[in-house]
């Protein structure tokens, strides 16, 4: 078993038009910039993207939206210090938004990966974001039914991988990456370093390789915050 691929180009080459793609990260932390840029080069269109945010500046997710490749965004917070690309498209009516509370988004993704089609949460009960959803009382408190969220592909960022796809993460760049790996049919991880089998202590593995299909090494990954301070534009 060897899940290593030689390039980010090869890694995203199978993503078709119309795919649902989960993209890891919270802001720029944990965002797989090189995989997103490879997806821009690849050119798949009509995508539904799941991410906590809507990108900033003109790189990463914002650039993917700017290229017109995203028809729908499922996220919790599509506002940022420089999220103009999404704002313009949303105002123009050329991108759909499904707004989901952050914890509900995380749990829907986790449920998708865990084979649980729906669950009840107190979050959003009695608010506009619960409209049309079934509610139920448990032990005297009201809860809203939410459904799992699954994807065709996950593009995630991790720190180290071995050839089996076992992953570790660096600091708060972990965020949505481990749960998105679980919830997607095909999970592609860009990692700073691919090590030999045995190079990751089994007790330190955060995402077991069963949730990962491909790993590709990007030794010096770009950071959205740094790119945006330099006013970078992709492509």
């Amino acid at each position: 078993m060897d899940k290593r691929l030689a390039s980010v180009t090869e890694a995203v080459s199978g993503i078709p038009d119309g795919a649902t793609v989960m993209i890891g990260g919270f802001g720029g932390s944990g965002a797989p910039i090189e995989l997103i840029h490879a997806l821009i080069d690849h050119g798949a269109k009509g995508l539904t993207v799941v991410n906590n945010n809507a990108g900033n500046g003109h790189v990463g997710l914002a650039a993917l939206i700017e290229q017109g490749q995203v028809d729908k965004l499922i996220c919790s917070f599509p506002r940022g210090p420089s999220s103009e690309v999404f704002t313009e498209r949303y105002r123009a009516g050329t991108i759909l938004l499904e707004l989901v509370p952050q914890g509900t988004l995380a749990e829907r993704i986790r449920a998708g990966g865990a084979g649980i089609p729906a669950f009840y949460t107190p979050t959003s009960y009695g608010t506009d974001l619960a409209k049309g959803k079934p509610v139920a009382e448990f032990d005297g408190r009201m809860y809203v039914q939410e459904r799992w969220l699954k994807a065709d592909f996950a593009l995630i960022k991790a720190e180290a991988a071995d050839p089996h796809g076992n992953l570790t993460y660096r600091m708060t760049a972990r965020n949505f990456n481990p749960i998105m790996a679980m919830a997607s049919k095909t999970t592609i991880a860009q990692v700073t370093e691919i090590v030999d089998l045995g190079g990751i202590d089994p007790e330190q593995v955060i995402t077991p390789g069963i949730f990962v299909d491909h790993v590709v090494e990007v030794a010096t990954p770009q950071q959205e915050e740094v790119l945006n301070r330099a006013e970078a534009v992709y492509p």
Partner: protein
Amino acid sequence: MTNIARIKLSNAQIAWRAAQDITDGAYVNLGIGFPEMVAQFQPEGRQAIFHSENGLLDFGPAPAAGEEDWDCINAGKKAVTIRPGSAIFHHADSFAMVRGRHLDVAILGAYEVAQSGDLANWSTGKDGIPAVGGAMDLVHGAKRVAVLTDHVTRKGAPKLVERCSLPLTGVGCVTRVYTSLAVVDIDAGRFVLREKLPEISVQDLQAVTGAQLYHEGPVADLIAPAL
């Protein structure tokens, strides 16, 4: 009529007052912006552990400019530092801590708070880009949900109201409100006045409050240090 603009507490003083109620060892989530100031005013000898929604418990101060590591940020996407005792985890675990009532206190900002404990703090209902983040999770997540707010809006309208007019973040979730003029508990669908600035009378405070203020026994003086 009291000139409330002249006597009211600053945001730092409101945050200071809220910090006095946080016990040693409490797990606390501070909302982005104004509530983050609460961390600066922990009383001597008490240590709270602060939770950040993006998967971090107990973090250190912001690094010096130019020394940011953008893999280490808080929920406001500001660079922070990790330190001995910090813990890092993924987003589903982070919100299990929230929703599972493992946090002791959540402190948020507000557009409006109703006497029922309903909170509106995520949408002005106008034509902006809707964004909710973790606010709807947090209001159901902690044993105590406190709000920090000016007592009135910039135009002078009450922010403590009978019923919220803006889109709700949560129903019946707030337990205490720290305002620029008073400390008010929400108890059985009523605002109960606990403390007020000594410079304002109960009558004048009632005049800038959009619902009946009840008091049970004496109302303590709200006195914050100059900050």
